[in-house]
């Protein structure tokens, strides 16, 4: 009964580094129909195990729809075993999107934790023509979670990496890289996506430095379209659904 449910063929589904997979779907949307920050809710199994669909950010949409994912549990493991040519039942594009920088913005900062980097790939395509300072701070557990980041460089971003174990880039959390941000530049917008503790430290940072910021959040979801009210997040204006009011929120509005 939904306009956003479709079946599509897998074009490719392969490892892009030891920890992450890239899934390419035989599906295109026009610029009007899709924006960076939106997500797909994918049925990974025909049976009851797992029951729910699994939500994934749309990582790229210039051409075919793409998803970047990390196998972490049963559903993502099943997804990782799918072969090109297999059919997936998908809902999407769902949710809201990152709001593009206003005219007075001079510095764009992506802060990504782990596979939270996904939506920034397509967003960096959108921001290619932006002339100001563009950086991405990418924090991961180990070198095995990093992949070829040339897409960001080609779109004019300077790339900084941190790893928890120091196997690549700066050792420590992504907050070790916050010093790369020119906090005196008030025309700064930060876009943030990653695990909750990272979102929280980013919130502290942007509040302290009075920078504007949008964060893309995750909660366990059932429907993905705002019906079940299951995936709520606490904000200064009450509970909001991550799937339909979000996943992108003003980072400063979120109550952790």
């Amino acid at each position: 009964m939904l306009k956003v449910q479709f079946k599509t063929k897998i074009v490719s589904n392969k490892k892009i580094c030891p920890k992450y997979f890239s899934l390419v779907l035989d599906k295109k949307f026009s610029k009007k129909e899709i924006s960076a920050g939106q997500f797909l809710n994918i049925k990974v199994s025909d049976g009851l195990k797992p029951l729910f669909r699994r939500p994934f950010s749309i990582s790229r949409f210039k051409d075919n729809l793409e998803v970047l994912y990390e196998p972490v549990g049963e559903g993502t493991k099943i997804l990782s075993q799918k072969e090109p040519g297999e059919i997936l039942d998908v809902l999407g594009p769902l949710g809201n999107n990152f709001i593009k920088p206003e005219k007075d913005v001079k510095q764009i900062v992506f802060i990504a934790g782990g596979v939270g980097v996904a939506p920034f790939i397509g967003f960096s395509d959108d921001l290619k023509s932006f002339k100001g300072n563009k950086i991405i701070l990418f924090g991961v557990r180990t070198k095995e979670h990093t992949f070829n980041l040339d897409v960001f460089r080609n779109n004019g971003f300077r790339v900084f990496i941190s790893t928890d174990d120091g196997s690549k880039g700066v050792k420590g959390r992504v907050s070790e890289l916050f010093s790369k941000i020119d906090v005196n530049e008030k025309g700064t917008i930060c876009y943030v996506c990653g695990p909750k503790p990272m979102m929280r430290s980013a919130q502290d940072f942007v509040i302290k430095n009075n920078l504007s910021a949008q964060g893309s959040f995750e909660e366990v979801m059932a429907c993905g379209i705002g019906t079940c009210r299951g995936c709520v997040i606490k904000t200064k204006s009450g509970f909001k659904t991550v799937c339909n009011d979000g996943p992108v929120f003003d980072l400063k509005e979120i109550i952790f």
Binding site: M1, V4, L51, C223, T227, C228, R229, G230
Partner: protein
């Protein structure tokens, strides 16, 4: 073969077919909804509304469990006034019957909601009786007297026909069903969710913010089915059956056990097209089995 009849009646009210959606599992979202398809359903049951707006429960509100899910949403809703102003007109415009689900903390709250809805030309109210009976330890739907009192009182003030939605968390659901019938309910909705919980063993915390919640989905289907069957043995009141209906076969089991109507709940989250696929599957089943009228199938279970 002549046209297959899918029309069913609750009292004097006729529906184009016996498929609806369970309260809380269907939201009318304009930007996503294909109205032409939606219009094929027999009825729509929106999420339960209460007298005043409710924020709902703390996160996490849902967790997936084996063949099911536990939810504790806390009836997050905008309240009856906003519902009447902002939601109901859009729902009514779809053109199929709307069954408005309501719940109150007291009998008086039920009555006030029902009175407000009297001006809205609604064919059916569904009373969600899985609500605390203030001043008592039990839910309304766990207490025969409270069930009777609530239904009777709403029946007296409301212009709509009344459906009583019962909780499966009782020793003998047929007892409560009889009280509902005595209170002059026009139909019963069977069943709401089963009390349940799940625990994160690493952190030793409940996986639901409210500690416990309600289990729904395929896991509950056989139990819900037995309850529909049990109630059908003691009364002829029409039953709207729900509990883990995922496909047309599940729906047919409930109809054969005695349900006049079936509601699709959790399945909507997994396959939003499930209600229509179920409708299609039932039609094909009737054709294959040379049954010209769905009403011949209702309660047609053969037992020795």
């Amino acid at each position: 073969m002549k046209e297959i009849n899918l029309k069913v009646k609750i009292g004097d009210f006729e529906f184009q077919n016996p498929i609806t959606v369970a309260s809380g599992t269907f939201g009318y979202i304009e930007k996503y909804m294909d109205d032409a398809k939606l219009r094929k359903l027999g009825a729509i049951v929106p999420k339960t509304i209460t007298l005043n707006p409710q924020d709902g429960n703390p996160a996490p509100r849902i967790v997936e469990t084996a063949s099911g899910m536990i939810n504790s949403i806390g009836i997050e809703n905008e309240g009856v006034d906003s519902f009447i102003e902002n939601k109901l007109p859009k729902l009514q415009k779809i053109g199929i019957p709307i069954i408005v689900s309501i719940s109150g903390k007291t009998k008086d709250e039920f009555l006030r909601i029902a009175e407000k809805l009297n001006k809205c030309d609604i064919a059916f109210l569904e009373l969600n009786l899985s609500c605390p009976n203030l001043g008592h330890k039990k839910l309304v739907a766990q207490d025969s007297q409270a069930t009777f009192d609530t239904i009777k009182a709403v029946k007296e003030v409301s212009k709509a026909r009344i459906i009583a939605k019962l909780s499966p968390n009782v020793t003998d659901i047929s007892e409560i069903a009889l009280s509902a019938e005595e209170g002059k309910a026009d139909a019963l909705s069977l069943v709401n969710t089963f009390w349940a919980m799940a625990i994160d063993i690493k952190k030793r915390i409940p996986l639901i913010g409210n500690v416990t919640g309600g289990l729904s989905g395929p896991a509950i289907k056989p139990i819900a089915l037995s309850m529909v069957y049990k109630v059908r043995q003691v009364t002829r009141i029409p039953i709207i059956a729900m509990g883990g209906i995922m496909d047309y076969k599940d729906a047919l089991e409930f109809i054969i056990a005695g349900a006049t109507f079936v509601a699709v709940g959790t399945a909507n989250f997994i396959n939003p097209n499930a209600p229509l696929e179920i409708l299609k599957g039932i039609k094909e089943y009737l054709k294959e089995n040379n049954i010209s009228d769905i009403n011949q199938l209702i309660g047609s279970l053969k037992t020795k």
